[in-house]
């Protein structure tokens, strides 16, 4: 190595140095991108749902004209069950209660929440199904609620709302009223306050209520999101199934496969759509988590470009250096072969010598053991003889 380094002139050393650095930077950027994508818990439902990676998370975003209701999703769920049976996808878990799929839907809106202390008007997300399975928000106290709960009068609020209503964050179990009807605070969450989150729609206080509460006691802007995690036996099966059966016309819905959206292929596709991605012909308002996810898609596409540039620089540089080195080579293929052969011979001899030494050591050890055993037998024999003599004497 030292010899090689000594042979390099200053210019070559600098070039190789920049190539190595560029390669490291490229890989680091790639790693950062992967880390960023990995932090988005809203997009990782499939990972959480199955360790085997055989499920896919699908999100559907609807325009208001689609007028989706809970009944649409109930009918879709029934269809999904029979489709999975038809496709011979059955639950092989030991737990009989285990489910093959889980889903959630949500609608944006506004509600007015009152406690004995104050009344606040906040943005609300009316949720149905297992919304919090898909969105594991950081709980400061309490728990989430689910669409399968007996009572649908629970709410989850962020710490700002909790503070305004009660002056505390530890308020789970407290009763508030929405439209005059008592509701129980099930949990308090920490609202993400990054720049991206604020721009995405989390710039004001938010409360998560059941869809029925939002529709009956608040102002609902209509269901705009349906999320599903379901088996994906072959690539694209889940997305295609949802697109075909969700029951909204193509210009009223956008279907996204969250599981693969940050994959390398998806990022390349996104780059290919540069310039046309921002064009929107559908009247769809994305929820904040999708806005964040789309933001990260853009960032990751940019990081991919940077990664490619750095790696390309390193690759071109090393290729050029290799070609030049090959052209100026002072060695021949036969010479290299002999050197390798010699080294292998030497190595083999070393191994043989080592084996010989070990064999000799083992034999010596055996001999010593034998000697020791024969000594012990002799001693025992002597002792036996003495005892016999003593008995006779007695």
């Amino acid at each position: 190595m030292k010899k090689i380094l000594r042979k390099l002139n200053r210019k070559q050393a600098v070039l190789i140095g920049t190539g190595v650095l560029s390669c490291i930077i490229g890989l680091t950027i790639h790693g950062i991108g992967g880390h960023m994508a990995g932090r988005l818990e809203d997009q990782k439902m499939a990972e959480r749902w199955s360790e085997d990676g055989d499920v896919s998370q699908i999100s559907c975003f609807f325009s208001r004209e689609a007028a989706m209701t809970e009944d649409n999703f109930i009918s879709f769920e029934h269809g999904l069950d029979s489709a999975l049976v038809e496709a011979s996808i059955v639950n092989d878990s030991e737990n009989e209660q285990a489910r093959l799929w889980a889903d959630a839907y949500s609608a944006p809106g506004r509600v007015s929440i009152s406690s004995e202390r104050a009344t606040v008007e906040v943005s609300a997300i009316g949720v149905g199904g297992d919304f919090f399975l898909f969105h594991p928000l950081e709980l400061l106290s309490g728990s989430y609620f689910s669409g399968s709960d007996l009572m649908q009068d629970h709410i989850v609020v962020d710490e700002d709302v909790a503070w305004q209503l009660f002056g505390s964050n530890d308020v789970d179990g407290q009763i508030v009223t929405i439209g005059g009807v008592p509701h129980i605070i099930s949990g308090v969450i920490r609202r993400e306050d990054s720049r991206m989150a604020k721009e995405a729609g989390l710039n004001t206080s938010v409360a998560y209520v059941s869809c029925s509460t939002l529709e009956e006691l608040g102002t609902s802007y209509g269901v705009n999101t349906y999320e599903l995690v379901m088996p994906n036996p072959v690539s694209g099966y889940a997305k295609t199934y949802v697109m075909e059966h969700i029951g909204a016309s193509e210009n009223e819905v956008e279907v996204v496969e969250n599981t693969t959206r940050y994959g390398l292929l998806a990022r390349f596709k996104l780059l290919a759509r540069f310039g046309t991605r921002s064009m929107n012909s559908k009247a769809i308002i994305y929820p904040y988590w999708e806005n964040i996810a789309r933001g990260y898609e853009d960032i990751l596409a940019l990081l991919l470009v940077l990664t490619l540039l750095f790696l390309l620089y390193a690759a071109v540089l090393f290729t050029v250096l290799l070609i030049r080195a090959f052209k100026r080579k002072t060695w021949t293929a036969a010479g290299v072969w002999h050197v390798v052969k010699d080294k292998l011979e030497r190595q083999r001899e070393k191994v043989w010598a080592l084996q010989k030494r070990r064999k000799a050591a083992r034999e010596e050890k055996k001999n010593r053991k034998k000697e020791a055993v024969s000594e012990r037998i002799e001693i025992k024999q002597k002792e036996g003889n003495e005892e016999e003599k003593n008995e006779k004497a007695d």
Binding site: E94, R99, L100, E138, L150
Partner: protein, 506 residues
């Protein structure tokens, strides 16, 4: 050369010292550094106890039998003496009314005047029609009585039969005359002058033949005379016949004239009858109009009498004792018969409250279950019991309407939230709801397990598959391979996976 070697040794020494220092720091703080890289988890121990699933709902308190205080007239209110929520006894004044007749009475009297005018106008119209019309005497005789249609039909048929009979008489005479005319060589349309001319001609023929017989001379011969006499006899016979026929014709002609006159009269009667029957219906309707107008006047008189008898006088009083739940009038405005002046919740009558629940929620409730008020600290003496669980008429397939009987210090119209719970059951393993997680292998909890190491305790999150047996608002009872004292993870600063190392809060 030696200097160079010395410098290298120095450099190696420095590098070794730095490396060792770093390793030392890392060794001392490795646990701390590792701890900070681990997710911090919060949780609590599994407990045993009871779980009670509760169903909550909000509804409006309704009175079993509200009493509406009503007035039958619109009178101006001078002053209202009670307010909503006041307790009144029977006979207490609710409001004072201004003096004067009610708007309804004034209106009724005005209507009576109009109805009387209408009655008189109807009578005049009838009389005018009766007197000025050209009616058959029978019609006038029957005016005012509603004869059946068959009676008019019989009258018409009779008149028509008479006309027909008279026509046949005329026809018979005409036929006889035609035959007689034919006998004397006349056509059927020959007139009296013609048959008299025939009579005159026959007489003239007899006269001329008589003269010829008288003028006979011997020179003419006997044969001629006998011929002439024979002709004369024939002419006399003819004259005799003609005279007879003419006499008959004259008689028949006179009869025909009489018969035709009678026929014309009968036809005239028939026509008159036809015209009269058309008008009789008009007369009858006018007569009915008089009857109706008379009835309307009588009814209006009765109405006025009723209104005068029901007139509230100067006050409106409470008919029953109870609590005023609504007052619908204000001083200066008028009362209205459509709206009750006040609504009274009678004393001692119960309240009910209903709300809709899902079928799943309804399964947790039974008739007779006691209900609790959600904000019970606001109400002291209110008790609620489930009275009925019936399909909700608005969505009978998915919803049930639960009705409670309420007693206590309540007011109709008040909104109340009630909760009713299934009987509590004891469970050995109870965890907070936030501890229950789920994936495609079912529901599970993460339990913190401790492993001792030379550098202290290490904590691992271990997965336990569970089945949720029952849940309430904050806790769930679970079954699984649990001892009952494990520490379950409820929240964590980062997502925790099964088998992952975690740290507990300091």
């Amino acid at each position: 050369m030696n200097e160079k070697k010395g410098r290298r040794r120095e450099w190696v020494k420095t590098a070794a010292i730095v490396f060792l220092s770093v390793m030392l720091v890392l060794t001392f703080f490795s646990n701390t550094i590792m701890n900070y890289s681990l997710p911090e988890v919060a949780g609590q121990n599994i407990t045993s106890g009871t779980i009670t699933s509760k169903v909550r709902g909000t509804g409006v308190v309704e009175s079993g039998s509200l009493y509406n205080v009503k007035v039958t007239e619109s009178r101006k209110v001078l002053s209202v003496e009670v307010r909503q929520g006041d307790i009144v006894a029977a006979g207490d004044v609710i409001c004072y009314l201004a003096e004067g007749e009610s708007t309804e009475l004034q209106e009724a009297k005005k209507t009576l005047d109009e109805l009387q005018d209408a009655y008189e106008a109807a009578v005049d119209a009838y009389n005018l029609a009766l007197l000025t019309g050209d009616y058959h005497p029978d019609v006038i005789q029957n005016a005012g009585t509603n004869l059946p249609i068959s009676a008019y039909k019989d009258q018409l048929t009779g008149a028509q039969a008479e006309v027909n009979a008279q026509q046949s008489v005329v026809d018979s005479i005409t036929l006889q005359m035609n035959e007689l005319k034919k006998k004397i060589g006349l056509t059927s349309d020959a007139s009296a002058a013609e048959w008299q001319a025939v009579q005159a001609a026959a007489a003239a023929n007899v006269n001329s033949l008589s003269e010829a017989v008288a003028d006979w001379s011997v020179s003419d011969g006997n044969a001629a005379l006998s011929n002439k006499k024979k002709d004369l006899e024939n002419a006399q016979i003819t004259l005799q016949n003609v005279n007879n026929i003419v006499n008959q014709l004259n008689t028949l002609n006179a009869n025909l004239a009489d018969a035709e006159a009678l026929l014309a009269q009968k036809q005239e009667t028939l026509e008159l009858l036809r015209t009269s029957i058309g008008a009789i219906f008009n007369l009858h309707s006018l007569y009915d109009g008089i009857a109706k107008a008379r009835e309307a006047v009588a009814e209006q008189n009765q109405l006025i009498a009723d209104l005068e008898s029901k007139a509230a006088g100067g006050t409106i009083t409470a008919d029953v004792a109870g609590t005023i739940t609504a007052i619908n009038v204000v001083a200066g405005e008028s009362t209205s018969p459509d709206n009750p002046v006040a609504v009274i919740q009678p004393e001692g009558k119960g309240f009910t409250l209903s709300f809709s629940v899902t079928n799943q929620q309804a399964q947790k409730i039974s008739v007779g279950d006691p209900g609790e008020l959600v904000n019970s600290w606001w109400y002291n003496d209110v008790t609620a019991t489930v009275a009925s669980i019936k399909p909700d008429p608005s969505s009978p397939n998915t919803q049930k309407l639960v009705t409670f009987n309420l007693t206590g210090n309540l007011t109709a119209g008040q909104t109340l939230s009630l909760q009713v719970g299934q009987k509590s059951a004891n469970y050995d393993n109870i965890v907070p709801n936030s501890a229950i997680r789920e994936d495609n292998n079912g529901k599970f909890i993460l339990v913190v397990e401790t492993k001792s190491s030379p550098l202290g305790n290490r904590y691992y999150a271990t997965r336990y598959d569970v089945e949720v047996l029952a849940s309430d608002d904050t806790q769930s009872a679970v079954s699984g391979a649990l001892y009952g004292y494990e520490f379950v993870i409820t929240t964590a600063t980062k997502p925790v996976e099964a088998g992952q190392m975690v740290r507990l809060p300091d």
